[in-house]
């Protein structure tokens, strides 16, 4: 949406982009909204959509090899090692009204929501391209 709420100063780790590109918009609207099938529905969805859809890859040996390569390419650095829930917990200790997290409830929500889980081997890949635009997106408005 074009309206960006003004963020407090500082921070800037949370990306708040205005969805302006085709890929963003497709992601937001595709297959969403009420379908009414008693009347003509004209598909305006053309070739451009197909290229975006090509993001889905099947986890296969090729995928595994990619992860193996990425793992081997690493320069290990000793750092951190905290579990995410510990980090969130630390945050809540220091911050406002904390709420203990119930993993079970979260799992229930995960089961209820969204698309079918499909085959667990299906994996959605997205190119890692966001880092560079993060600060800019934050500071632009």
């Amino acid at each position: 949406m074009t309206v960006q709420t003004q963020r407090r100063s500082g921070g800037g780790y949370l990306e708040r982009p205005a969805p302006s590109g085709l890929a963003d918009v497709i992601e937001i609207i595709l297959d969403k909204g009420i379908v009414i099938d008693a009347y003509v529905r004209v598909s305006l969805v053309g070739i451009e959509l197909l290229t975006i859809d090509a993001r889905i890859v099947i986890a296969s040996v090729d995928t595994y090899l990619r992860f193996a390569e990425a793992t081997n390419r690493l320069d290990l650095y000793e750092k951190g090692g905290k579990d995410l829930s510990e980090m969130v917990h630390d945050l809540q200790e220091t911050g406002a009204s904390g709420k203990t997290q119930g993993a079970v409830e979260g799992v229930k929500r995960a089961l209820k929501g969204g698309h079918s889980a499909d085959d667990e081997d299906d994996e959605e890949r997205r190119p890692a391209k966001k880092t560079a635009s993060r600060r800019r997106a934050e500071s632009s408005r």
């Binding site: 009420i34 969204g114 997205r126």
Partner: protein, 265 residues
């Protein structure tokens, strides 16, 4: 253009005309006054309202002999719904929906579905959708796995020393272990993240399940009054975990994910 040719499986009815109405969404007639003008929709056509009872549908003229599928149409559709959503609750009608004329919109959409649409619209008063995505900084997570998983560390040390075209089976096994471990971690971290913002969210739907590289792809329905707290909370979280997870929040949006699929069921 024959409408049947372009649709890929959607049931078709012949319009018997070359002009029709593109439908964007439905809103409460009380919210509609003064919202629209001037608002431009697909093909540069002006968006107007078709009213019936307590509801109004936002539509614009569309020629049926037009070429299909250009980015301009998607952007225009979302742009119109942005404006409508900023003014009040709106039920988006799925992109690509076209009805024959104003009579059809009144008789086949607004009047028969008035009760259900009104219920959905009431639910959306003072609320908007936000899309949240969380992705891993891959190298950081991989490093963590090498550090904490002995078998991954062993296979890594082993395959690293081999020539590039050797050790295929070991490499595949290493990759599979890494992939599975990331999937597991992703499912766990997703619940941690979503629980941490639960109190600011009316409803949360996962748009896609957690995967090895993306923990969260969720639509959040949020009270406008709490949206700032949510953003602040996410900012704190993003800062705390930024060396391994990136958070991205898009919105406020029309509640695309919270209106159901069909008015019929």
């Amino acid at each position: 253009m024959n409408t049947g040719a372009a649709t890929g499986g959607t049931a078709q009815v012949s319009l018997g005309a070359d002009q029709a109405l593109f439908v964007y969404g439905v809103l409460r007639v009380d919210d509609a006054d003064g919202v629209l003008r001037p608002l431009t929709g697909l093909d540069g056509e002006e968006v107007r309202l078709v009213r019936a009872g307590s509801l109004a549908a936002a539509v614009s003229d569309m020629g049926l002999d037009r070429p299909p599928g250009r980015r301009a149409e998607l952007l225009a559709y979302q742009g119109v719904l942005d404006v409508l959503a900023a003014a009040g609750p709106v039920v988006p009608i799925r992109f690509g929906s076209v009805m024959a004329d104003e009579d059809a919109i009144v008789e086949e959409l607004l009047l028969p579905q008035e009760g259900q649409l009104a219920v959905i619209l009431d639910e959306l008063v003072g609320r908007h959708q936000y899309n949240l995505r969380a992705t891993y900084v891959e190298d950081a997570v991989l490093a963590d796995l090498v550090r904490t998983e002995p078998e991954i560390r062993r296979l890594r040390d082993h395959t690293r020393r081999l020539p590039k075209d050797a050790g295929y089976a070991d490499r595949a096994q290493l990759g599979e272990l890494v992939f599975r471990a990331m999937q597991e971690r992703s499912a766990y971290d997703a619940t941690v993240l979503l629980d941490a913002i639960d109190q600011f969210v009316v409803e949360c739907l996962l748009r896609t399940p957690p995967s090895a590289t993306q923990l969260v792809d969720a639509a959040l329905l949020v009270d406008d009054a709490r949206s700032e707290e949510l953003a602040d909370r996410l900012e704190d979280l993003a800062e705390a975990v930024h060396d391994r997870i990136r958070l991205r929040l898009v919105g406020p949006l029309a509640a695309y994910d919270f209106v159901g699929e069909s008015t019929w069921d």
